[in-house]
């Protein structure tokens, strides 16, 4: 079963990147779920098209040498996260409307820039639906660094983040810079969105940020335990998605997403049975 990963070096690197991204997405996802900001991650995911489009356009149509498009995605994701957070804070705008505006603006800018770029069509599909096999060693290095930085941040700031998300007023009274910390969380969400785009693409990012944490939330009472379980579930989804994609010749991103949905469905049934048994006894 495991032999195809070791026999094919392309699949082995895809597996390694997939597991790395599972650690990042699995650790950030629970914060997204408990704070109910899944649509913020969706908005950031779709707005990265603007950054990717800009970098590809500047290199191909204008002739300016640019870093790989993943850096454009990262830039656009961070700008979008800051826009969402600051528009709500300073202009008191409704958050759902800002989310929709950032989502649409990013997509619109990306589509226009890519349409003005010759020969973009082959890359756009991998951006939209993801392709682990396309990840370069430089991308892999960047993802490793981002994952390490995010994990260090979460470990050091976990208690404060939990308080800010649960009760911002009490966090403020405890002298915590609540807006700064929330913005830092949104930047982490932006980073994990960019990482997950490599695996499942823009269209399916939200599932990987929400389904593994939802599944872990069915069985865990504490946020810290939920994060650990979410990382493990993310890894299982990636591993099983990659295997099924290889065996059934399916697109990798869609296979991983479907596996996550199936596992969540099974988890929900187990939880339902356990709850009913407890009530009956």
């Amino acid at each position: 079963m495991i032999s195809f990963f070791t026999e094919n070096p392309l699949f082995l690197s895809a597996l390694l990147v997939g597991l790395l991204v599972s650690i990042l997405g699995g650790s950030i996802g629970p914060f997204v779920v408990v704070k109910r900001i899944a649509f913020v991650s969706g908005s950031i995911a779709h707005s990265v098209l603007a950054g990717i489009g800009l970098f590809i356009y500047l290199e191909r149509a204008v002739g300016i040498p640019m870093p790989p498009p993943i850096y454009g995605a990262l830039l656009a994701a961070i700008v979008s996260a800051l826009c969402i957070s600051r528009a709500k804070r300073f202009f008191k705008e409704r958050e759902d409307s800002i989310i929709a505006a950032v989502w649409a603006a990013g997509m619109a800018i990306g589509i226009i820039l890519l349409s003005k770029t010759p020969g973009y069509t082959s890359e756009i599909s991998s951006i939209l639906i993801g392709n682990l096999l396309w990840v370069s060693p430089q991308d892999c290095l960047l993802l490793s660094l981002l994952t390490l930085m995010s994990l260090i941040f979460i470990v050091l700031r976990f208690q404060k983040l939990k308080l800010v998300l649960f009760d911002p007023d009490e966090a403020f009274l405890q002298g915590i810079a609540i807006h700064k910390l929330y913005e830092q969380l949104l930047i982490l969400v932006a980073i994990s969105v960019v990482a997950l785009i490599q695996v499942v693409g823009i269209v399916l990012v939200m599932t990987m940020l929400t389904l593994p944490p939802l599944l872990s939330g069915l069985f865990c009472r504490k946020l810290s335990v939920m994060i650990g379980a979410s990382i493990i579930f993310s890894m299982i989804c990636t591993l099983s998605g990659l295997s099924s994609a290889y065996v059934l010749n399916f697109p990798i991103g869609a296979s991983i997403t479907l596996c996550a949905i199936v596992f969540y469905g099974v988890g929900r049934c187990i939880r339902w049975i356990l709850t009913n048994r407890l009530i009956c006894t």
């Binding site: 976990f158 998300l165 009490e170 504490k222």
Partner: protein
């Protein structure tokens, strides 16, 4: 300013509004150290806004607020909000909720000290809810979760305790238990409580602040029959101002 150091709370000519809508007009009052102040008034009168201003969550548009001689936020202030304002699905235990009030003591590595955990357990015991320490906060009843929030407020031994309608979702028994806890704090801790249950707090408080846009400071004995039936004497407020 020297005078305000001796006061627990000193609010002077306070004005506040949301956008174009004015909420508090020229509010002035003082609370002595160890005094129990009850804040009453109709919905939308500005009671919760006043608490937020005292906490430093909002900034006054005019006038000044001094808490023990300093501008809010002040670390010696603890706050008990309404339980209804929390996400009941948040994965956090009662002990973790209380520990949240010890966040100032977190180490560089983001860990609580063992004495902070002991203090949190002691506060839960004081509030009579130690047995619920590992229960999810969202699964607790209104009365129990309110007592957990009181334990959180008490864990840091605050000199000023602000309570925002703490009995709004509790039953009679939980309400009397809450007032038992407050009774033990009277004298040593300055207490400010927003409530609609005027008849319950009347025997406990030393001063009453009736808020309807503006504020009227009253002695509990002054509270007329209207107030004891839960009505707010707005005409009298206008007349006396």
């Amino acid at each position: 300013m020297r005078q305000s150091v001796n006061k627990a709370i000193d609010v002077s000519n306070l004005w506040f509004g949301y956008d174009a809508e004015s909420v508090l007009h020229d509010v002035t009052f003082q609370v002595e150290q160890g005094q129990f102040l009850g804040i009453i008034g109709p919905n939308g009168g500005g009671k919760s806004t006043l608490l937020k201003l005292l906490l430093g969550l909002l900034q006054p548009q005019q006038g000044s607020i001094s808490i023990r001689g300093k501008s809010p936020p002040v670390p010696e202030v603890a706050y008990v909000p309404q339980t209804l304002s929390f996400d009941r699905q948040f994965p956090i235990t009662a002990l973790e909720v209380v520990l949240g009030a010890q966040s100032r003591h977190l180490s560089f590595l983001g860990r609580y000290r063992s004495e902070d955990v002991d203090c949190a357990r002691y506060a839960l015991e004081q509030a009579g809810v130690l047995e619920y320490e590992s229960h999810l906060f969202g699964t607790l009843s209104g009365g129990i979760s309110q007592r957990v929030l009181i334990a959180r407020a008490l864990v840091s031994n605050p000199s000023i305790l602000l309570l925002d309608e703490p009995t709004s979702c509790t039953d009679q028994e939980a309400e009397s238990q809450l007032f038992e806890i407050i009774e033990t704090l009277k004298g040593s801790t300055t207490i400010v409580m927003v409530t609609h249950h005027i008849e319950v707090i009347a025997p406990l408080v030393e001063k009453v602040l009736c808020i309807h846009k503006t504020a009227l400071v009253m002695d509990p004995k002054e509270m007329c029959e209207h107030l004891s039936f839960g009505l707010y004497h707005i005409p009298e407020m206008k007349e006396r101002r």
